[in-house]
Symmetry: C3
Amino acid sequence: MDFLTNLLDLVGTAVFAITGALAAGRKRMDIFGVVVLGCVTALGGGTLRDLILGDLPVFWISSSHYLAIAAIAALATFVLAQRWRLPEIALMYADAVGLAIFTVIGFQKGFYITHDYSIAIVMGMTTGVVGGILRDVLSGEIPLIFRREIYASASLCGAAVLTLLVHFQLPNAFSVSAAVLTTLAIRFAALHWNLALPQFPFDEDL
Amino acid sequence: MDFLTNLLDLVGTAVFAITGALAAGRKRMDIFGVVVLGCVTALGGGTLRDLILGDLPVFWISSSHYLAIAAIAALATFVLAQRWRLPEIALMYADAVGLAIFTVIGFQKGFYITHDYSIAIVMGMTTGVVGGILRDVLSGEIPLIFRREIYASASLCGAAVLTLLVHFQLPNAFSVSAAVLTTLAIRFAALHWNLALPQFPFDEDL
Amino acid sequence: MDFLTNLLDLVGTAVFAITGALAAGRKRMDIFGVVVLGCVTALGGGTLRDLILGDLPVFWISSSHYLAIAAIAALATFVLAQRWRLPEIALMYADAVGLAIFTVIGFQKGFYITHDYSIAIVMGMTTGVVGGILRDVLSGEIPLIFRREIYASASLCGAAVLTLLVHFQLPNAFSVSAAVLTTLAIRFAALHWNLALPQFPFDEDL
């Protein structure tokens, strides 16, 4: 991975760990629950991606700084929250940043291993959304991805933009930035204006 | 795999994707949640089977039509539900069909890789029930397998019948059909007459 | 593995299967749900450990007595519970025994494969806590690890003690016993005196 991708990867790891810590905090977990949920959120998506692709042992076994960054980010969140109030919406925006970054990281790894755009897109979405799904299930919430908001579709759009730019061999720094900004823009817009996709027209009374 | 097994595999994938889409619909998820939950339900059992057996990358990476079929079946369910009401019981019967088929598919893959009947039975049950467990956990329901109904035992009976017929080397088409029909018959009977196995006699007041 | 480790491994498997069966019983699952939840609890932690480390197929495929022990222990729990009342706290103490043993087993396998103490500690905790997390999520409870009790930290202390003793090359039987007793002592104390770690100071009203 080049410098930009590496940097983004670390930022994404820290940001997802923070969202895990915030979610653990909202459930009044102790310091250990906070660190564990932070690490699961930060590393869960990439772990499932590596398992599915068969790239084992998973990434955070060979590069142990991922685990360290996730744990430190979760601990720092725990400590800082002693001093400042953290608004609930902070979790949602941080989650959007993690989603945008990990979609790109997952796409790149999936494409590197399979050279197949559709698999790369699915691996991008998997890496982007699974950490958050684990966070939400483990803290007893309905996963963000299954609420009535634009979430997985933001990840899909980012991956689609990346597919296009990679296909036409644009410079990596440009493609990566464009894809991250696409996902971020869509997700921020969805959060800000409460945008939603069409719903399933199931009858209540069934 | 021969023609019949292949055909059943595709039918099972589509049917489980439909149950995922229906479950997503009952929770009023948007079109994306519907597709994602459909794919997770259709591919989840086989994914865990391949992970446990170490047959990586998992099946839907090398054969990308599985993902396409699951996504299309979920989308079609979403579109059709705009026009026709779908009774809740439809999900239960479709789930039984998926359970019966995936038990056989999982058994065959497990037996092909390990040549061990007991592992093959467990892999059959894993492939049959895990997609539905993921569907139910992610949509906030208690998994079917843990409700007071004959569910996993239907899968076990199908796998046991298959063990017997495979052991005595009966023709594959016959063995497969008999195993699928066994699971289906037991599960349909359980749904129709509300059959249940003995319960755990735990005291309410503990 | 030497004799003591092997013996502990079997005890841990049986004990976790019993906790799974008890949890299934409290939810009034039928005999099949009881056996399935017992097996998932007993084998879940080691399965995720083997997946993450890439040691595939997972341990209970090559050594099928694990599956047999878990199923028999769960069945026996189901049968015995017909005759004797089992107090709820039994689940908590049995869980502590499983946690202590599997932390050591997971540490040893992680260290054997990676020769890295920090990975070994994480694999010890993973093996110790994941079975219980799956048990709790599948039976609709908030996982023990995320409640306000000393749980994962007991596992961490056991793994830390083991790291120290392995590093100074003390006899295996001594190191293993000391680590198991450390985790057990901390967890029993936490259960007995209701000890808790500092909580996340999130505002209720956010």
